[in-house]
Amino acid sequence: MRLDGHLRFDNYIVGSANRLAAAAARAVADAPGTVYNPLFIYSASGLGKTHLAAAIGWQVSQRQPDAMVDYVTVDEFVEQLHVAISTGQAEAFRQNYARMDILLLDDVQFLTGRRETQGELLRLFNQMQDAGRQVVMTSDRPPSEIPDVDKRLVSRLSGGLIVDIGSPDFETKVAILRSKCAEREVHFDADVLEEVARLEFASVRELQGALNRLVAVAALGDEPVIAGTVRRLLGARPGTPRHNTVATAAGDGEFLSFVADVSAAVASTVEEWKARLSEAVTTWGERGYRTTVLERALALPRSPDVDGLLATFEGAVSHLQRLEEAAATIDQSTRGLGVFRDPEGVAAAEAFLERVQAAGAPLPRPSSDYARDRFAVSASNQLAVRAADAVVGEPGRRFNPLFIHGPSGVGKTHLLHAIGLGLQQSGEERRLVACVSAPSFVDDLIAALQMGTLDVWRARYRALDALLIDDVHFVAGKERTQEELFHIFNALVAQGKQLVFASDRPPRELDELADRLRTRFEGGLVAQLHPPDRALRAELYRRAFAHSGSSVAAEVVTYLADRAVASVREILGTANRLMTAAEVAGVSLGVSLARTELEGGVSPAVAPTHVAGVADAFFLDDEKIIWDWPDVGGRAIEELR
């Protein structure tokens, strides 16, 4: 047995039955080799002989770290002696023991009949005593009652102090029980411990066994441990001495006692490092983390660096948790994905986060350049504009979806963004509005398919409060895009979220568009933006000239408004062209200049602006320049002739 400080004086409970033995042992420990040498302690089994002997050894080794202290049972001593003799090391054996400052010899009763050992011990005792070194012996009986022992040895054994330890009394038993409870960090009511102490136990070891049983019962939680149940739990019949129950059935107690003993055996044999690793396996496994690396370590024949391994593992887990958190801020649906649960696959998790981040860049918002108040209204576009206003006022309820169509340059994109801005700003909460063009919608989808982040891509769109898609005619012929759009459409409409589409033609004219989408587009409101009418043209010219800071006569605006145009864009182009021409000519813009410009004048728009003011006269000659080319069809007919 190793003297590991487990058995000390301060955890040895002293009562009337062991007071003398304890006092003698303390005296020996305080001054080894001087007071009682040898000290011979005897008692029935389990009353604390070994505890006292070990406590002496521990205290001496604590006070004198250099002291040679050895604790050995007679059995071990015999074994060592036999090995020494058979290997010719008998002298080394003797010298080894002769060097001891304190020899603690346990279970001396086993010297019976071992003549050689007795002789060897006699010699050793003589040597040690002559040198003033301490011998402490324990036995289950006094020296005179150990049969078949050399009389000279008996007299040596009896030469110091012989003390015995009796069975503990009630108070000592209660004290022992309390001390053991404190040691094991368990708690029982005082009357429970007193009830246990009232039972007759032949030894302290049995008393501890009884406590173990109660601890086991309490741990099972099957029934409360109270004073009234103690006797039954311990298998003692009320009012009968305990020894009557030794040989016969002891009821639950016998099984529980068995469980308690097995518990002790398991606790002492389960290797601590494996227990720690398996605990970690269980803990992390329950949280969904893969623990294969720990399981591999468990299978190793020897203990690996458990601390290092667990630290690395836990480090990887917390890194994964950070990655998971980062991904979840972009897309909640990534939370709890398996890729964040494998501490051996941190690299994969990092790559996944990168993909999520790439795919999760915020969707384009409506541009603030296209404010609603800058969108001029007239009869040609008022239906669409009113619909747009209604959508902003009651998103998802009035017209869902709103489908705006019209030729190029009539303000579809402007109106779309204006709706988006309106949706974004109205309402109590800031709405999540995306304004995307169909080509970039398609590109995004292709990229998501490529990177395997389709779920993330879908989740981003489905999380929107409003989705506005410009140039939706581009999805024609793109089956996969239409399929995804269909699902997003349904998901958003189901949640009452607004959808707005802009296209150059109405849904019914969109070729290669799946009917399920077409019918859905038509299911809301299809509103057309016509080319600007006269009133709108006048208004737009006024705004264009005012925007550039030019003051233009009303009759110019009237003249220009009378001219039919295909789009708003054309109006803006004309206004710019006229203002540049006026600037080049160094005059203010009048109807004649406008007429010259538009109906046969020189267009500074084709002249590089850097020559303004020094324009070559060549460009001013109407006859040499063809301003209005015949259209391609006309030219073809000409050429055919």
């Binding site: 016969t248 099984f255 468990l298």
Partner: protein, 200 residues
Amino acid sequence: MSIVNYATREITCKLVYYGPGRAGKTTNLHYIYEQLPAERRGQMISLATQTDRTLFFDFLPLDLGSIAGFTTRFQLYTVPGQSYYATTRNLVLQGADGVVFVADSQSRQLEENVESLQDLHLNLGEQGVDVRSLPLVIQYNKQDLPRDLILGVAELQDELNFRDVPHFAADALHGLGVFETLRCVAELVLRRLSQPAAGA
């Protein structure tokens, strides 16, 4: 058989009660079964003949609950003692973590005891198990019978316990020595855990 599974935190031990016919192996298991708290009583499976001899084997699962964080189960088996069930005995013995040899203390049964013990060694040898490393406990049952019918423990020790394994006198019918035997073999088995190379 793996005793400790760290991954699932389970300890499972297979203990086999071996011995000649009518020595009291099933009686041991019955006594243990009766001592179990009602809520822990699993099912004891006993395949007995009409004359109450064990035909195939008895099986008693002992669920000890969670010990040191490990779900601990003991599986107690008996073998049929009659000599003509040699194959069954061999089968039941496979994977045993510990063996209790139940000897019949009656003088006239001594030869059966010796034969059965030899049979045990033979079977273990066939299975490649080192008898010296396998936890083994001998129980001298029926020590309650009149002195003139039985052999004393010392005599039985001389005849049977040449390896000096732990031994217990028992009266399995009344439970004397039953749990002591079980406790001893269980502790021997568990102690082997700290010597991973042995028999693994």
